[in-house]
C-alpha cells in the first residue's frame, strides 16, 4: 500500500474522480492497491499466475461497479473483497490442490528465527483450508482487517466471521504450533 492510500482525504477524492470516469485517477488506485490484491489472491490460490489473473479481473469489476461503493474511504477492503472473490472462484475451479505438489517450494534460507513458522508447513496447512477460509486468513493477516471489517467486506455477519476465524486459527495452530 502506498502513501497515497494512507491519505484518507486524497484517497476519497481519488475514488470520486475515478467514479466520474477519470482514467488517471483509476490508474492511481491500481498503483495504490494492486499489490494488496496480488497478495490476497496468492494466499487464496497459491499460484502466482492465478493471483495475477484474479487481480486483473478484480480491476475490471471495480471499474464497472465503482459507483456502488457507498463509502469511498473503505475502497481498500472493497477492492480486496472483489479480488478475493475472483481468487476463490479460480481456486474452486482448480479443484483441490495437491498438498504434495505444492509443498515443493523454495528452500529455507536458514535465517529464520527458531520459532518461525516453516514455509512448507504453512503452505500445506493453508492447502488443507477451504478457499473461503484462506480468504479469511489473507484478509486478517495480509490486509490487517478486523473481524467486523472482514464481515462487511464479505457480506457476512460479524459474529459469524469471528467464530469462523477462531475455528480456522485453531485448526492452523493445531497444524503449525507443535510446541
Amino acid at each position: 500500500m502506498t502513501a497515497l492510500a494512507d491519505d484518507a482525504i486524497a484517497l476519497e477524492l481519488l475514488v470520486v474522480e475515478a467514479r466520474a470516469g477519470d482514467e488517471a485517477a483509476f490508474t492511481r488506485l491500481v498503483t495504490a492497491y494492486h499489490e494488496d490484491l496480488l497478495r490476497v489472491a496468492f494466499v487464496i490460490t497459491g499460484d502466482g499466475d492465478m493471483a495475477s489473473d484474479a487481480a486483473q479481473l478484480a480491476w475490471h469489476t471495480a471499474w464497472r461497479k465503482l459507483r456502488h461503493l457507498r463509502e469511498p474511504s473503505r475502497v481498500r477492503s472493497w477492492l480486496v473483497a472483489i479480488a478475493a472473490n475472483e481468487a476463490r472462484q479460480m481456486a474452486r475451479r482448480q479443484r483441490r490442490r495437491s498438498v504434495v505438489e505444492l509443498a515443493v517450494g523454495p528452500p529455507s534460507t536458514g535465517s529464520e528465527p527458531a520459532d518461525a513458522i516453516n514455509r512448507l508447513d504453512l503452505v500445506n496447512a493453508l492447502n488443507r483450508l477451504t478457499p473461503e477460509d484462506r480468504e479469511l486468513i489473507a484478509m486478517r493477516f495480509v490486509i490487517g482487517l478486523d473481524s467486523f471489517e472482514i464481515a462487511a467486506a464479505r457480506g457476512r455477519s460479524a459474529s459469524g466471521t469471528r467464530a469462523r476465524l477462531a475455528r480456522v486459527l485453531a485448526q492452523l495452530r493445531g497444524d503449525l504450533d507443535r510446541d
Binding site: 470516469g21 490508474t27 497478495r39 472462484q89
Partner: protein
C-alpha cells in the same frame, strides 16, 4: 483459557501473521498500473466478467441437473418468451434510471429516452415518488445529499445540504417523507438512518449506525423501516414513531449491497430476503411478524450463490434471479409458498442491483452489465425489460441510454 494459553495463542497469531505476510509476497510481481487500468476499462463487458455456472462437485452437478429439469418444465413458456427483441413492448409507464452520471427517463411503450438531469454531478439511485410527480435521487460519489427533481427533470432542489448519502433514498408509502442511510459531511459524522420530509424539513436521525444502513425498505403501512447495518448482518426493523428496533432473523447475505434487498410483502407484515443456506448455498426466506416476534420461513432453498435480488410483483408473487439456471442468471417468478411459476428471458442476466418492478406487476426491468445472446456469446449491456407473463423481452441498448454504466431504476405507470 488461562493467561498462559492466551499468551501462547497471541504469540502464535503473531508468528502466523509474519509467515503469511512473507508467503504472500511470493504473489507480488512487478506491474504496469496504466496497462492494468487500461485493460480493466477496455475489456468488453462479459468477456472477463461472465462465467458459466461451475460444476465443482457432485452436489453442484446434482443441482445443475435439477435446475435443468426446472428449466425443461418451463420450456414451452420460456421458449415462447425467450427471443430477445428491441421492439418496444406495449407496456405502460416510464422507467427512470441513472445512466452514467445523469438521470434518464425511458418510455417503456415507445422506447423513447429523455435526459432528465445534466451529465454531472453523479446523479444516481432514482426513486419515483408514490404519486409519480417527483424523483428523489442521490449522488453516487458517496458524498452527495439527497436531491429531488420534478418528473420532467425541472425544479432541482437539495433536501439535505451538508450530507453524504450512501444508500438510495426510499419514499414513505404516503409520499411525505424520505429515508436514507447517510452521514454529515465534511467531516464524516453522525452515520445512521435518517428521515427527511419531502420538502426538506424535519431532518431526523432515526437510528445511529456505523456502517451506514443499507437495504432500506419502508413498510407498506408506513409504520416501519427495515434495514441492515452495512452490507451484511441481521435484518432489523425500526418503528418510525418510537425508534424502537427489532431484530428480524438470522444474518442475511449477499455480495453487493443493493442486490440483496429487504422486500416487504404487500398487504402483510412480512419481509423477503436471502440468507445462508447449507454449505455455500443460499435460501430465500420470508420472515413474518406475529405479535412482537418475527419468525423466518425458508420458501426457496439451496440456491446457487449470487444476487437473488427478490422483489414482489403483487401480494402473492415475487421475482428473483436464479444462478442455477444456465446460461448465467435468469429471473424467476415464484409464489409466496415457494412454487416456481415461470422462468423469464433468455438468460445471462447479471443484475447490478434489484430490478424495478412495474407497479402493476406486469414486468420487471434489470440494469444488466452482461447478457448472453442465443449463441451463448456475451453481448452488450443496457436495460432489459421482461414481461412477467412470458412475453418477449425488450432491451434498451446502451447506445440509447447514453452510457453503459446503468444504475438502479424506478418504474411508474402513467
Amino acid at each position: 483459557l488461562t493467561v498462559t494459553d492466551q499468551q501462547r495463542a497471541a504469540d502464535f497469531e503473531g508468528r502466523l501473521e509474519e509467515a503469511v505476510w512473507s508467503y504472500s509476497h511470493e504473489g507480488v510481481r512487478t506491474f504496469d498500473a496504466a496497462a492494468i487500468a487500461a485493460q480493466a476499462r477496455s475489456a468488453r463487458s462479459g468477456v472477463l466478467g461472465w462465467r458459466p455456472p461451475m460444476i465443482g462437485d457432485r452436489r453442484a452437478l446434482r443441482l445443475v441437473l435439477l435446475a435443468a429439469l426446472v428449466a425443461a418444465a418451463a420450456l414451452a413458456i420460456a421458449l415462447a418468451g425467450s427471443r430477445r427483441t428491441d421492439t418496444p413492448l406495449p407496456l405502460p409507464g416510464v422507467i427512470v434510471v441513472g445512466a452514467g452520471d445523469q438521470l434518464v427517463g425511458v418510455d417503456v411503450g415507445s422506447g423513447a429516452v429523455q435526459q432528465l438531469t445534466p451529465k454531472t454531478p453523479h446523479d444516481a439511485n432514482p426513486a419515483w415518488s408514490p404519486d409519480g410527480r417527483h424523483i428523489a435521487f442521490t449522488s453516487h460519489d458517496g458524498r452527495g445529499p439527497v436531491q429531488m427533481v420534478d418528473a420532467d427533470g425541472t425544479n432541482r432542489r437539495v433536501l439535505t445540504p451538508g450530507f453524504g448519502a450512501g444508500t438510495p433514498a426510499v419514499w414513505s408509502p404516503d409520499g411525505t417523507r424520505i429515508a436514507f442511510g447517510g452521514y454529515r459531511y465534511p467531516p464524516v459524522a453522525d452515520r445512521g438512518l435518517w428521515i427527511v420530509s419531502a420538502d426538506g424539513t424535519g431532518l431526523t436521525r432515526l437510528v445511529s449506525s456505523d456502517p451506514i444502513p443499507g437495504r432500506l425498505a419502508w413498510s407498506p403501512d408506513g409504520s416501519m423501516i427495515a434495514f441492515s447495518r452495512g452490507d451484511a448482518g441481521v435484518a432489523e426493523v425500526v418503528d418510525v414513531a418510537t425508534g424502537a428496533i427489532t431484530g428480524v432473523g438470522n444474518p442475511m447475505i449477499d455480495q453487493m449491497t443493493d442486490a440483496a434487498p429487504l422486500a416487504w410483502q404487500p398487504g402483510r407484515t412480512a419481509l423477503l430476503y436471502s440468507r445462508d443456506g447449507r454449505g455455500d448455498r443460499h435460501d430465500l426466506v420470508l420472515a413474518e411478524r406475529t405479535g412482537g416476534r418475527w419468525a423466518e420461513r425458508p420458501i426457496i432453498t439451496d440456491l446457487a450463490p449470487g444476487k437473488a435480488a427478490p422483489a414482489w410483483l403483487d401480494r402473492d408473487r415475487f421475482v428473483f434471479v436464479s444462478w442455477d439456471l444456465p446460461p448465467g442468471g435468469r429471473p424467476v417468478v415464484a409464489r409466496a409458498d415457494g412454487t416456481i411459476e415461470r422462468v423469464l428471458g433468455d438468460g445471462g442476466i447479471e443484475p447490478w442491483t434489484t430490478g424495478c418492478v412495474a407497479p402493476d406487476g406486469s414486468a420487471v426491468a434489470y440494469p444488466v452489465t452482461t447478457s448472453v445472446d442465443s449463441d451463448g456469446n456475451p453481448s452488450a449491456n443496457g436495460l432489459v425489460v421482461l414481461p412477467t407473463d412470458g412475453r418477449p423481452a425488450t432491451r434498451i441498448p446502451t447506445a440509447r441510454l447514453g452510457s453503459a454504466d446503468v444504475a438502479p431504476c424506478s418504474w411508474r405507470l402513467r
